[in-house]
Amino acid sequence: MRLDPTAKITNKERWGGYHLLILESPDIAREAVPGQFLMIRVAYGSRPLLRRPFGVHSRSDGSLGIFFKIEGEGTNLLAGKNPGETLDLIGPLGKGFNLGLGEEGEAHSGAPALVVGGGRGIAPLAFLAAEMRKNGRTVKILYGGRSRTDIPLKDRLKAEGGDLVCATDDGSFGFSGLVTDLLDKEIQKSPASAVYACGPEPMLETVNRIAAAAGLPCELSLEARMGCGFGACWGCVRRIRKNGAESWVKICEDGPVFSGGDVVWTVKG
């Protein structure tokens, strides 16, 4: 974890409201593992005031990629940055995915790991899939979005040589329906060793239920508005079960990746 106030933007790509930026930041790149994230300062002055969190989407030779969707003021400002400009980053932050989930002594060890991304949730999963494949693990990516314009990385992920199945809610590309329906189908069809997911809350809850029902280990990357990203403000908590007891746990420090079984979906009281 470190501050790099002058990470240079070396490349930029755009698909509608989705953007990819490549940032040169050798020290942070060296340390980053899949599932970790960066806190990026989108403006000086105070509008907006807080940094914005983005998962590490790719890594190569001292550079990191982030892939993001324009949601509001911060992401809009970020989308306006151009190669040659610099960005102020903190990273890598949080705990990443367990790349060996479901491999040791589990029922379907050796079967593909299913990686389920909804919309911009694909961001950290691309890095995860790439690293797992480097480790020799078989990976199948399930990539869903509302419409074909919401799965802009499909060609690239395909080109990277992996098994990829797409789903769109409106049926404009690939499987017609929710990516969770696709997951259900895939799990019925053939064995899998583990499920990793990132996306909107309702999707994650369903993924978790499906994985649990199938007896598959599952890791989910969660989100929350973050004040700092490095554990100092206690602003980003989520209800998590640890050794049987529930408590408010910091997503930025103990997450953003949690074991699906530890996440409490409905808090009582």
């Binding site: 105070s46 005031l49 004040g227 554990g231 100092a232 602003g235 408010w248």
Partner: protein
């Protein structure tokens, strides 16, 4: 070669000498170690540990944060580990820092404040206590002792009677007359006051019609509140004799100077440090540069020099 004459940034609070007037504010600096990746805590004038109750506290449900124009609403609700865990697990590490460690003391009632202080009194490595009688995130509706001179007097007097260490009383801005509350704290024996804590505030998600923080109200901090905080510090410094520590929206050396010139003896940096963890250091460097530019040998010369003719 020009020899740069040394600038003396130190400030004397009477009960405590700080190497420079810049402290990290409570609740925005974690317990301290969270900032080690970014700075040497020994460069700070000091820092205030996150608010501690006697027992561990669960805190409020999320969402706990909402952003507003130049501001941040938080409703963390003082989630924390409690004094025992702090003294056992964290304090030993803080003893290694070459800076003043101040502990922010919380309580549901006067008795709890006293219990926390008595417990901490049994452990070394703490320079002073900051009595947090002004957190808007604990009681329903945001009420706190610092909203009344009488309640303030009671807590401060009780704590001062027991504490072996200096006590800084942290005041609330959610009052008609902050200087009157400061005067009550002074009468009750506090060694200094710090102000301001956050402003009770609210934001609404107009699509869901729900408050943006689950606690309904939260505390507003950040640059948005600076001009109000500064006015309160000026009013208070004009009223009491004890040192005043100013905070609220300080993000740059110039912001810090506004408070010092208006009468603060030291300042704290809160929200700005969440955004830029090195903000306090940049402020210290900026203060030094200001002194050079204005040929001041001692920064403390400017405290309270505001010209209100």
């Amino acid at each position: 070669m020009t020899v740069r004459s040394a600038v003396d940034l130190s400030v004397d609070l009477g009960f405590l000498r700080l190497k420079n007037p810049v402290l990290a504010a409570s609740g925005t600096f974690g317990y301290g170690p969270e900032f080690e990746p970014f700075l040497d805590p020994g460069r700070l004038g000091g820092f205030v540990v996150k608010g501690l109750h006697f027992d561990p506290r669960p805190g409020n449900p999320p969402p706990r944060l909402a952003e507003t124009p130049s501001g941040l609403i938080n409703a963390v609700g003082l989630q924390g580990v409690g004094v025992a865990s702090f003294c056992e697990k964290t304090l030993p590490r803080l003893r290694g820092y070459k800076t003043a460690v101040i502990v922010n003391v919380c309580g549901a009632d006067t008795e709890e404040y006293v219990r926390v202080v008595e417990y901490l009194d049994g452990h070394e490595g703490i320079a002073a206590y900051e009595l947090n009688i002004s957190c808007p995130n604990v009681k329903a509706g945001g009420a706190c002792p610092a909203q009344s001179p009488a309640a303030t007097r009671k807590v401060v007097a009780a704590v001062k009677k027991r504490s072996r260490r200096p006590v800084i009383t942290k005041l609330s801005p959610n009052v008609t007359d902050v200087a009157a509350v400061a005067a009550a704290a002074e009468e009750a024996g506090t060694d200094a006051v710090s102000l301001v804590n956050t402003f009770l505030a609210m934001a609404v998600d107009v699509e869901t019609r729900r408050p943006k923080v689950a606690n309904v109200y939260g505390g507003l901090s950040g640059p948005a509140i600076r001009p109000i905080a500064l006015r309160m510090v000026h009013q208070t410094a004009s009223r009491v004799r004890i040192p005043v520590i100013g905070l609220g929206g300080i993000a740059t050396a110039s912001d810090a100077l506004e408070f010092l010139i208006a009468g603060a003896r030291a300042v704290q940096v809160g929200t700005a440090g969440l955004v830029d963890p090195r903000a306090a250091l940049d402020i210290i460097d900026g203060l030094e540069e200001y002194c050079r530019r204005h040929s001041l040998q001692r920064l403390s010369e400017i405290c309270g020099t505001i010209d209100v003719r």
